[in-house]
């Protein structure tokens, strides 16, 4: 070690007498290497002490950012961008009200970006239409468990949606897959082609949060219940698992399951399906009872439908369709299986 370093430490910590300080500063003025070492030493101390001073808060922010990164980069990119020509996905072509003027942009023909946007728009309009229709349905036709799937399959009932193949002479047949619904005169009209996306949209409804919320996941459940799904994911990630492991045996099992299950549903609700799949697998492995096992399988089959992995979806639907202990899911799974056959 160079002999100067103990002196640098003393100098920077104000542990020198005024005479020593004067001598040291005189030496620094003559010795460039020493002056440089003092500068670097001081800079390192400043930077590292600042980092440590705010370490706790920074770790919380890091966690938030890390969660959001997983949502907005890894998955979104993999699903929506990686498969598209990069040059055709210029996000600057989307109108953002508060965006400043942009220069040097590609102007050209209708591109993939637009096509994706248009497709998303059509899906959005369809989802809106379905939602509005359900909202306007007579009250006695809905229930807590009522999803569009339920109504899609109540054939020949004019006050409900239903799935039907080539049954309406007025419907435009495309790919043999059409969702039709009756108009005010009871006549079937086409609303959309059936795709994995529409099937998912028609069937996915986030499960309710547990009635008993007390425990390490309480904050997450409240956020989830208020549809603040991103915050719910963050809260789940931040939940103190040690509290879980100190609980009763049953409580532990449920907490472990809830962690994966509600994170998965939050991912699905925010359209981050790839992130939901491993969580649902965890939920299935850790399911505390048969009801939750059935529910996790149901959502996993929907996730696979959304990602287009229909064979995998079929495996789980088959399990549900053969499970006589939960007739509502059995029926839904049987119906969904039939509908999947219509998708080429």
């Amino acid at each position: 070690m160079e002999p100067w370093f103990q002196k640098i430490e003393d100098y920077l910590n104000g542990q020198m007498s005024s005479n020593e300080q004067l001598l040291f500063e005189t030496e620094m003025a003559k010795n460039e290497a020493l002056a440089s070492a003092v500068t670097v030493y001081r800079q390192i101390e400043t930077d590292m002490r600042q980092g440590k001073k705010y370490g706790g808060d920074e770790n919380k922010l890091r966690q938030t950012i890390s969660n959001l990164n997983a949502l907005y980069f890894k998955n979104e990119t993999r699903q929506n961008i990686a498969n598209l020509p990069v040059k055709e996905t210029n996000p600057f072509k989307q109108t953002t009200p508060d965006a400043p003027p942009v220069k040097a942009l590609n102007q050209g023909k209708l591109n993939w970006g637009y096509k994706v946007a248009i497709a998303a728009g059509i899906t959005g309009v369809m989802a809106f239409g379905i939602t509005m229709y359900l909202k306007n349905k007579p009250a006695n036709s809905s229930s807590e468990e009522n999803t569009i799937t339920d109504t899609l399959n109540k054939k020949n009932k004019p006050d409900t949606f239903f799935f039907k193949q080539n049954s309406s002479k007025d419907a435009i047949v495309q790919n043999d897959t059409i969702i039709v619904r009756p108009d005010k005169n009871g006549k079937n009209i086409e609303v959309a082609n059936l795709t994995t996306a529409t099937l998912f949209a028609a069937n996915f409804k986030p499960d309710a949060a547990p009635v008993e919320k007390e425990g390490p996941l309480e904050k997450a459940f409240v956020l989830y219940e208020n549809k603040k799904y991103i915050e719910a994911i963050v809260a789940i990630n931040e939940a103190d698992i040690n509290i879980v492991t100190r609980g009763e045996e049953d409580e532990q099992k449920f907490s472990l399951f809830y962690t994966a299950y509600y994170k998965a549903l939050s991912y699905m609700a925010t359209d981050h399906i790839q992130s939901a799949i491993p969580e649902l697998k965890n939920a299935i492995v850790n399911s505390p009872d048969n009801t939750y096992l059935v529910k996790a399988r149901w959502y996993l089959s929907l996730a696979y439908i959304k990602t287009g992995e229909l064979k995998k979806a079929h495996v789980f639907l088959e399990q549900l369709a053969n499970n006589h202990t939960h007739s509502s899911y059995q029926t839904k799974a049987q119906q969904l299986k039939e509908q999947l056959k219509q998708i080429k």
């Binding site: 070690m1 160079e2 370093f5 103990q6 640098i8 430490e9 440089s36 070492a37 500068t39 670097v40 030493y41 800079q43 390192i44 101390e45 930077d47 590292m48 002490r49 600042q50 980092g51 440590k52 001073k53 705010y54 808060d57 920074e58 919380k60 922010l61 890091r62 938030t64 950012i65 890390s66 959001l68 990164n69 949502l71 907005y72 980069f73 890894k74 979104e76 990119t77 993999r78 961008i81 990686a82 990069v86 040059k87 996905t89 210029n90 996000p91 600057f92 989307q94 953002t96 508060d98 965006a99 400043p100 942009v102 220069k103 040097a104 942009l105 603040k228 991103i230 915050e231 963050v234």
Partner: protein, 190 residues
């Protein structure tokens, strides 16, 4: 004059998840696109975006600054500079860049961005060189930097106070030497 997007800087400071998520929703796509257009991958874009947000956070922790341009332009320019530095390290900065100069920002904002990127580069260099030290040195330095007086550090490490002081100087001597001999040293000199 303070831009309304100043709220996003406060959100970083307060770890306001909803507003930070809004930042991701609004701007991450553009950063991703910029990186993908310029020899990068999705993971590069994620790293750049994350590091720039953390750098901004560190900057406002130590010294609050006023945002005078839209956050979109600020973030884009900061990410662009950061990505350009990464490309320089990979010797890829000589290839044609696409859509790098999308925004014009005021001089003050540009200076802040430069500062932020410089601080980040310095922290990265220090972290890298710190990893090259032995475990004993790292432990001692980190305990000391966490604000613990050297007497307490000595007790924790079960060594004498005198030896702790001597050891710290040895470790710092090694770290300063490593930094000064690094290719990026000129960053620290600024």
């Amino acid at each position: 004059m303070q831009h309304p997007d100043q709220k996003y800087l406060e959100a970083l400071l307060n770890n306001d998840t909803a507003l930070i998520e809004e930042v991701y929703r609004k701007y991450s796509g553009k950063i991703k696109w910029m990186v993908l257009q310029n020899n990068g991958k999705e993971t590069d874009a994620a790293d750049v975006f994350q590091e720039v947000l953390l750098s901004i956070y560190k900057k406002i922790q130590n010294e609050k600054f006023t945002l005078t341009c839209p956050l979109e332009a600020f973030l884009y320019t900061a990410c662009k500079n950061k990505w350009l530095n990464e490309l320089r390290k990979k010797k890829l900065d000589k290839v044609t860049m696409h859509h790098f100069d999308v925004y014009n920002i005021d001089e003050d904002s540009f200076k802040i961005i430069e500062e932020i990127n410089l601080q980040q580069a310095r922290r990265d260099l220090l972290a890298e060189k710190l990893r090259e030290l032995c475990e004993d040195c790292r432990q001692l330095l980190q305990l000391n930097w966490s604000g613990k007086p050297m007497e307490e550090v000595a007790t924790i490490l079960n060594i004498t106070y005198g030896y702790a002081r001597k050891k710290k100087c040895e470790c710092m001597a090694e770290l300063v030497t490593l930094v000064k001999h690094s290719a990026e040293f000129n960053l620290l000199k600024q």
